[in-house]
Point group: C2
Chain length 591, copies 2
Amino acid sequence: MATQTYNPVQDRGVSWRDYLPFLDWLVNYKREHLSGDVIAGVIVAVMLVPQGMAYALLAGLPPQVGLYASILPLIIYGLLGTSRTLAVGPVAVVSLLVASGIGALNPATTEEYIALALTLALMVGIIQVAMGFLRVGFLVNFLSHPVLSGFTSGAAVMIALSQLKNVFGFDVPRSEQFHALILSTISRIDQTNIAIFAISMASIGVLLYFKFALGKHLKALGVSNVVALTLTKIGPLLIVVGGVLIVSVFGLHQSADVAIVGAVPGGLPPLTIPLFDVATWQALLPIALTISIVSYMESISVGKALAAKRRQKIDANQELIALGAANFGATFTGGYPVTGGFSRSMVNFTAGANTGLASLITAGLVLLTVLFLTPLFYYLPNAVLAAIVVVAVASLVDVGAFLHAWHYDKSDAISLLVTFLAVIQLGVEVGILVGAAASMGLYLWRTSRPHVAVVGRIGETEEYRNILRHETQTFPNILALRVDESLYFPNAQYLEDVVLGHVADNPQIDHFVLVCSAVNYIDISALEVLRDVHERLRDNDIGFYMAEVKGPVMDRLEAIGFADRMGRQNFFLTTHEACKTLRQLGKAQAF
Amino acid sequence: MATQTYNPVQDRGVSWRDYLPFLDWLVNYKREHLSGDVIAGVIVAVMLVPQGMAYALLAGLPPQVGLYASILPLIIYGLLGTSRTLAVGPVAVVSLLVASGIGALNPATTEEYIALALTLALMVGIIQVAMGFLRVGFLVNFLSHPVLSGFTSGAAVMIALSQLKNVFGFDVPRSEQFHALILSTISRIDQTNIAIFAISMASIGVLLYFKFALGKHLKALGVSNVVALTLTKIGPLLIVVGGVLIVSVFGLHQSADVAIVGAVPGGLPPLTIPLFDVATWQALLPIALTISIVSYMESISVGKALAAKRRQKIDANQELIALGAANFGATFTGGYPVTGGFSRSMVNFTAGANTGLASLITAGLVLLTVLFLTPLFYYLPNAVLAAIVVVAVASLVDVGAFLHAWHYDKSDAISLLVTFLAVIQLGVEVGILVGAAASMGLYLWRTSRPHVAVVGRIGETEEYRNILRHETQTFPNILALRVDESLYFPNAQYLEDVVLGHVADNPQIDHFVLVCSAVNYIDISALEVLRDVHERLRDNDIGFYMAEVKGPVMDRLEAIGFADRMGRQNFFLTTHEACKTLRQLGKAQAF
């Protein structure tokens, strides 16, 4: 029964087939999968066309870039991804990161902005593919749930604020600070363009109705699930059409100064080449790293959640490779960084996507849009796209997660709050770093003041537990103290104080037993302290013993000679054994 | 027996007498303490006069500043310090930090340099006193032994290198990088001033003889301990006298261009006022913080080690107040930052210092030197002072500590090495930060891949231990797995992989018991994983149980409703109880 040797993270050997997951579903494609794939592919395309343009706007890019990023990357992910239902493309958080990263470089022209976005997609692709081949995807585990939750909420707030200018119809200076954006918006409120504001509010109203109420109404009317799902997802398309009609019919772009998308070039996505100069790459590196990690996190968590529901498996490292390759696709076809997004993936799953074919169908429909429908978007008001963004991100602000964390553990809640505040006041990149540092710092802080418990015997068992929580039996000449933490530098000094304090408070004892069942590691700083404690107790004629020392910890204590120095007879396998032996032993016999 | 409520770090209430420790020893001064105090005071003064001048040179200050810093600060510490034997004054590492911090500001004149040093002393004083009153001295525990050891070794190397110019007699450009200093020294080796180099080598030779050989020779001659100790400590004084004689007699400062100290102003230390402009304080803040922490660490570790040998007590927070006040003293009497140093404190202790009176005597002798002996230092060669610095710091490079750490635990050794390399390549301030971050990062890294063990019953006891290390009995339908770490975000995903991997490798089991004896904390990220694991196992008809959950952990699981969701009957107090119950239970009865 040598199951210990199992190491799930160890490389089990990778075959070339693992890098081409589509061989699995394409070769064995089943007819009954087709209808689900087609329906899902169509519904996602209906969502993706307006969202792609809206997110491009959010990223500071022309709308067609969002559409270009919704074709080849989807095909590549559909073939290489291990998730059957993940819907890849432009997403809100990554678009915000693109805007923040490229905005900071102040590109002079739109062409330069687009070139920087392509370059960013290439860098993200390289980083993700490298992480995948190096199998270091697990590194993202150092971002805790509360940090991610705080980050997402904070990014959503900043995304919504970034759209205020399009909602109200006046210009707001770019800023990464919540209070600056709020203040400059309020100070311009009298410059509001009423026509734009009316379009925004009407669009938001329609979207909210489609999102929250329409489903129930359709259900009450007895409409079938697939039709209902399709109808509830056409809200964005509807306001796009509505917006185009209203502006073009009434000429609002001239009479009321309503900002419109303008000419969107049609035809196949262009072949594009990113920039290859060192200074640009250096300047983009921090944001490229942030996008790589954040987009992988978003993608893998959605992908895993959906796969678990259908008992499918996700390979984290292959996902990195597939996402990276999708970003390569975006690089060379006029796109910008993409990832697997939450909302469209949920819809893809719910609509019945069975294989990567759904993604291919979506990509085909977006391609048709780019080829034939772009002239229709000329009169599309920016306000409509802003409304799509605002409604999409509003649900990402997750107050419930904060309350849940607060209820469970204050330090989780503090990590979340610190990340949120850092994101909205210091910017998205710095914010996630601050959040990660705060969550790790809080953990170290926690371990610096470990919980300790004096333990006693429970009834006639061999179990020793906290005397304050259980009915226990103790022995007058023995003090057995359990320290609930690994012993290492942040708590080494505290350990000494606690042990000597307990001994001082119990002058009647002859024997002190340190119960190490919860000690997973003793570092060299704590080892020094144990030596000191041992000497101090010996000087006071009190025996020092250790019980329940774990194998790996004991190995080290033996290797360094500490076990011999203490005396091997002073180590006991169990607290019970220690107490059984020491009860009989007086002071004089302690050594 | 409510000893749990004992919290040694909690404020036990402080009386005003705790802030004036000299009341203890001055009021009850015993005659038999006097001879020890006098002898120790004299020997330390003999060391301190040349060292004070040498360390001032190292700090980039005129030699008299080192003497001024050796008068009032010693008196203040002698009265306020809780250590009876700590010898305060200029020390090597702090002098290096002063040189690095002020050097970076490029002061135009020596007057400005001195004013900046005074200001630094004031800032260090304020920071230390504030830390003392706020009782946050424990924060320094986040610097581990290996980090401090690597820092000290690295600083010693940089100190020695900084003196190369005085040893060889040519100018070397200031640098904080090991390789730059080495390279620029080698490239100038043909410019060596032979006279200076000869004086340096002779001085170093004498110092090494006094340090390593003289004691043995005197012992062989049967000289008494006190006399021997005094004689071994007059090495620096001897080379000072020798250097002055040789230079003045042969006129080497003119004939051979030997750099000399020159005119040292005599008379009482001047009353000095630090700078009070915001920009200066901002610029000095990082170095002031570093000096505050490093000097406190050096002082408290020496003080504690010496106090423990005589069963005396050190109050960490009062030490901060006393050191801070000593720095105030340095500020207003023409000094620079001071602390309790290792070597002079050892000598003070060995020579028999009993109370703070020894410090007062040392201060008095240094004052006499400043008043009457400064003209004698005119011809003192800088090379002699450099030799004193080099020999003093050479013993701080501690290769043994690295080997010891390497032998005990690689990650302790890596912290040490990273700190050392960062100090010699990135500078002393950045170095200690990098080291602290590395040591914490390595700990988090360690916890991200916890040790796990399948446990079995030892004989007929109730103890369950690792089946690979002990003779144990296991039960075919039960898998009991102990995870040796708190469950939190860096290892949450790993936990899931490990548990599901073990279950997959043991298809015959009906029950999976997670033994939580070493789990001191479960964060909200790990809680999610436990929920997933519970569901996945349920779907596979395997029961999921937790045993030996600690009180504080269980409290949280109950508060958040996880305990009810799992089912209370699925929690067992001990592994033995779990196995006893589950052995009888088939798959069907698992829920």
